[in-house]
């Protein structure tokens, strides 16, 4: 099954829409609630990153009985040093974003911790690509 969602940069109000929709689908599929939680937390962080750091993006979800795979592609500044970005606590978030309660620098580490497989690639000046896989039967 395939689902697709758009995310707008700067729109923190609607960031979380894709994770809520995916959560409902996984509940209907009778996935384990602990696994649902991992998916939702990882996806929410990734959604917020597009809202906080990029211009716009698209989220594609592919679900089968084995696993859910989330592909996130954004148009944005990209990440020059991915290893550094993955460090817990590292953040380039503006003070405006921090005032909204985002930007603690825990997003990417949290995504990695909750995913079974996690791939991140980025091209400076173009955008960032994330692949998050969570197995549904483990």
């Amino acid at each position: 099954m395939d689902l697709e969602f758009n995310v707008q940069g700067g729109d923190f109000v609607r960031a979380g829409n894709a994770s809520s929709q995916i959560k409902k689908v996984l509940k209907q599929l009778n996935a384990d609630s602990a696994i649902i939680k991992r998916v939702v937390v990882a996806l929410y962080e990734a959604e917020v990153n597009i809202a906080a750091h990029a211009y716009d993006g698209v989220i594609r979800a592919n679900i089968d009985t084995e696993r859910i795979r989330l592909l996130l592609d954004d148009n944005g500044p990209g990440i020059p040093d991915i290893e550094r970005a993955m460090t817990p606590g590292y953040s380039t978030a503006s003070s405006a974003v921090r005032e909204m309660g985002f930007g603690a620098g825990m997003g990417l580490p949290n995504i990695r911790a909750n995913a079974d497989e996690f791939v991140i690639t980025s091209e400076v000046g173009k955008g960032t690509h994330l692949e998050i896989t969570v197995y549904l039967n483990q």
């Binding site: 979380g16 509940k27 209907q28 009778n30 649902i36 939702v40």
Partner: protein, 460 residues
């Protein structure tokens, strides 16, 4: 121990629909927060596995067809010692000239031998709640298990949050154990003690009759507050009450008086604590907690009713006035009252070793099938059907929304021709108008299509 209610085990819900009274107006179906209602053959049907006993349907039913099952009142007379456990909000229900002492006297006059406030045990409970929130090694936020409708909501709709529920027994259980102990100490035989709870809502009945997290409730029976309200007022207005009855209204503390109101729990717990009332508000908030969009909260007091228990479905008075009344009383009380160590100690012995609830199990209502492969096939069918359904959620099909109808169809409980929009399309091809009419009658019954100048209207 005497078994006072025949249906203690079979009884999952306190709410039932009387088909003889139901006119099939579907008002209930539109307000149910868990989409547990459908209309078939002109009658509302309740799906037991989805119902959380919140009472929203009861509040909007214009014909009184939704019944909250209570025990036979005369069952109290099987006991020599008949305790009425009253929630503090009962006091705020009555006209101003009816004093709390008169209420207690009237309760004695109709047959009870002892009157106690349910929330008296709150003074004993508060340190435990604080300790639990500070030290429990479970996920934050800890969610109060005080409101049984909320516990059930989490079980069916937010299964991933069952681990956040606070596993402490509610005041009703603690007070029951205490009052039994005290009566036994005074010489009563245990099997001669009947403890009867006057409930403001259906959820509390469900909690007594089919408890979650405990094997059985120690409460002997439950009576609806609206029924007891009428009995009390009749007793007082007909001057049957003997004013020399020596019973006094003695709330233990200001905090216990406020416990069932919004903020009653949250204000007593340290850390970041929120109090949210109203089932729609609660659902909206829990969605965000579940996604971890909201973090850093230590304790959540969640109540199904607007204004918490003051807005319970079985209350008689206005909820805002009841709240104001209780706040005034509690302010008056807070300056002068100190709870004695002796009472706290007696609560402790009465409840030693049994203050904890068992783990609460999820029972998700959302899954389309136990088997994930089947569930996925069903979901794909639902999605295809949603492309054809109009998306106006009109309810004319007998389901509360287009998506509910689509799911019912996939589960074999409804047919696509129940949708009036699709009927029009089908009539262009092969569906005969006669057949279409027959389908509508299967949903709404024959009477819905007859002229009727006496339809009940929603009063709110």
């Amino acid at each position: 121990m005497r078994e006072n209610t025949a249906d203690r085990n079979s009884f999952r819900h306190a709410l039932t629909i009387d088909p003889d009274v139901c006119v099939g107006c579907a008002h209930c179906m539109r307000v149910c927060p868990t989409e547990a209602l459908r209309v078939r053959q002109g009658k509302a049907i309740l799906q037991n596995n989805r119902c959380i006993d919140c009472g929203e349907c009861f509040n909007v039913c214009p014909s009184g067809a939704i019944v909250i099952k209570q025990d036979e009142f005369d069952s109290i007379f099987a006991y020599q010692h008949r305790v009425a456990l009253i929630p503090s909000i009962i006091i705020g229900q009555f006209p101003e000239d009816v004093t709390p002492d008169m209420i207690c006297q009237a309760l004695v006059s109709i047959g009870f031998t002892k009157i106690m406030l349910v929330e008296d045990s709150v003074e004993y409970l508060i340190p435990q709640v604080r300790n639990y929130v500070e030290n429990a090694d479970c996920e934050k936020p800890i969610i109060s298990s005080y409101c049984p409708a909320i516990v059930r909501l989490i079980q069916v709709k937010f299964p991933s949050l069952v681990g956040n529920l606070m596993l402490l027994r509610p005041p009703l259980d603690l007070t029951t154990a205490y009052v039994k102990q005290e009566l036994v100490r005074e010489g009563a035989a245990e099997e001669q003690i009947g403890v009867f709870y006057i409930t403001p809502c259906a959820a509390k009945i469900a909690a007594v009759k089919s408890p979650v997290g405990e094997d059985r409730s120690e409460v002997t029976g439950v009576f609806n507050m609206d029924y007891i309200y009428n009995r009390i007022l009749r007793e007082i207005r007909h001057k049957d009450v003997d004013p020399s009855i020596a019973v006094k209204y003695k709330p233990l503390s200001a905090r216990s008086l406020r416990w069932s109101l919004t903020g009653g729990e949250a204000n007593e717990v340290k850390g970041s604590c929120l109090a949210i009332d109203g089932i729609a508000n609660v659902i909206q908030f829990l969605e965000k907690v579940e996604n971890e969009e909201i973090t850093g909260v230590d304790f959540l007091e969640l109540r199904s009713c607007d204004q918490s228990c003051a807005g319970g479905a079985l209350t008689a008075g206005n909820r805002f006035i009841a709240v104001e009344h209780l706040h005034k009383d509690s302010v008056a009380l807070s300056s002068k009252k100190v709870v004695s160590d002796k009472i706290l100690c007696d609560y402790k012995t009465a409840n030693e070793g049994k203050t904890a609830l068992r783990r609460v199990e999820p029972r998700s209502m959302l899954k389309l099938d136990e088997d994930m492969g089947m569930a996925m096939q069903k979901m794909e069918r639902v999605n295809r059907m949603m492309c054809h359904l109009p998306g106006v959620d009109c309810g004319v099909c007998g389901a509360p929304s287009c998506s509910a109808l689509a799911e019912d169809i996939v589960q074999g409980e409804a047919t696509i021709s129940q949708c009036v929009f699709l009927q029009r399309t089908m009539e262009q091809n092969k569906l005969s108008p006669d057949h279409a009419f027959k389908i509508m009658k299967q949903v709404w019954g024959d009477d819905r299509f007859k002229k009727n100048c006496h339809k009940p209207y929603k009063s709110k």
